[in-house]
Symmetry: C2
Subunit: 309 residues, 2 copies
């Protein structure tokens, strides 16, 4: 049993900003390494048109490999019905559908209104429900820009709550609430997650934070206070924005695991194995900025012994 | 009025790990720049033997300059009675005396036992009380390695509390509780600060966190939960440990101010002016690693307007 679920998204959120194709074997080894370190859910790829993101041209092969890893929940991102159906055909366990709460961001990202994206989500849920028992993936609604938007600035908490309620009513099995651009702060995080939890009841809510402005782990602590118990993270904090040189991306998986384990919250993840995977991935991704501190500073004296996975 | 006090220590904790002498004019400009940005307390130097830390050979001149800056509380570190008396003669407003809770760390740092350091603190308090009214500095007891030690590993919470009570009884006007080596985590921080506050009553307690393992700002959030309202920080997170290449040092002043202001907690500090000082200091300290994210990623859209100092 774990106290807090840490899900890897570097294989999707991280790789989508890497400007060259990462070999399929490397992606497979990354998934294998993390699964062996105890990570029990990985967002292994994105089902976007290959023209837009050639990085995921090998999605089918990566998914097929990930599905062989025992105990691993294989998740994939889908921005529309077409991507979701492809993911279902390939047998992924979980589909993370993403729409932006910010209207402008949604239009910039998927060229349609947030309402149109919600309608598409309804179709995805129907499509999943039409599948035979045992072949129905978990359908997740991801709310991007829930804590701010680089185009619109502030994003209204009321709007986030309304959209959360709508996708929950539409049949979302889980929600992801995402600070896509690193605008969130602990006060806003506590307020927003508490509000959404009271609105949608028992649906599991995962937090997806970026560390762009350094508040990633403080935001995790704030979300823990709001009883959030699942977090996305990226190995080495991979996924920095190409428009902000040096800026970090997702919160760093190994630093997150370190914080949680140090606090006495079990993740089921062996941090030293995780750091070994980081080194392997970093070697393959030469010149990509790897963030995070624990891999550089090392674990505190006596830590490993007290926190054996 | 400010909600949270942010004190600069880069001029002391940062500079003591810079391997070359930083020109006196640069140190003065740093103090001036931060005071103009709204920072109302700076630990401007350390009164250690010049043989041990030649960086602070110009302490008298830096203090004299800092004392001309209106509204600024001029603090200085002193590791012993001799340093404290020199600081008093020069007219500093506040003396931050430091001892390590970890016996081994105290011996490595100042070559005596923690008990001997406490006895020295008693003499410093007496020396300050013997001075004429109006020339008595505020005497602060800083408890280093309060959240762990690179030599001993875990540091007992009971021992920290006992020492806090002893220095409070000895006449400390304020306490600094320091995670000197970045071993702390939010759960330990909440526990320790709440415990010490309940032990020592009304004495102001400041937190001094290092970001060596990435948890600096999460630890700040935890300390805020324990009603701590004063924090040390270092511009650009200057002060990394020479034994951990790439590891960051103190929590970064500008990132801390960003987090607090984003949360709606007033610091009185103009973050854009602070970033301008960072750039000035960074130019002078070529090749020194500057940490922190907000200077790289930029403030969120619409932030500056909403949070004008």
């Amino acid at each position: 049993m774990v106290d807090v679920h840490v899900h890897e998204v570097g294989t999707r959120d991280g790789l989508q900003s890497v400007p060259f194709f990462v070999p399929t074997e490397m992606k497979k080894a990354w998934c294998t390494g993390e699964a062996e370190a105890g990570v029990h859910e990985i967002e292994v790829c994105s089902f976007v048109p290959v023209k837009l993101l050639p990085q995921f041209a090998d999605a089918a092969e990566v998914v097929a490999h990930a599905l062989t890893l025992e105990g691993l929940t294989v998740a994939a991102l889908a921005p529309n019905l077409k991507g979701a159906e492809r993911a279902m055909q390939l047998g992924v366990h979980k589909i993370n559908y993403v729409l932006s709460v910010s209207e402008s961001h949604n239009r910039a990202n998927v060229r349609r209104s947030t309402d149109e994206s919600i309608e598409d989500f309804v179709r995805i849920v129907e499509s999943a429900r039409g599948r035979p028992e045992g072949q129905r993936p978990i359908i997740v609604a991801g709310l991007a820009t829930a804590l701010g938007c680089t185009i619109e600035g502030n994003v209204s908490e009321d709007r986030v709550r309304q959209i959360a309620v709508r996708v929950a009513a539409a049949g979302a099995d889980e929600l992801i609430v995402a600070d896509t651009v690193g605008y969130g702060n602990p006060a806003a995080v506590r307020r927003l997650f508490r509000a959404i939890k009271s609105d949608v009841g028992e649906i599991p809510i995962k937090a997806h934070f970026h560390d762009t402005r350094g508040l990633g782990l403080a935001n995790v602590l704030a979300a823990l206070d709001a009883d959030v118990r699942a977090f996305d993270a990226s190995l080495g904090g991979l996924g920095g924005c190409p428009y902000a040189p040096g800026a970090s991306g997702n919160i760093c998986t190994e630093d997150l695991v370190f914080m949680l384990e140090a606090m006495g919250l079990k993740t089921g993840i062996d941090i030293q194995k995780l750091i070994a995977v980081r080194q392997q991935v970093q070697q393959a991704l030469t010149d990509q900025p790897f963030h995070g501190t624990i891999a550089k500073a090392g674990l505190p004296r006596g830590f490993a012994l007290a926190h054996a996975a």
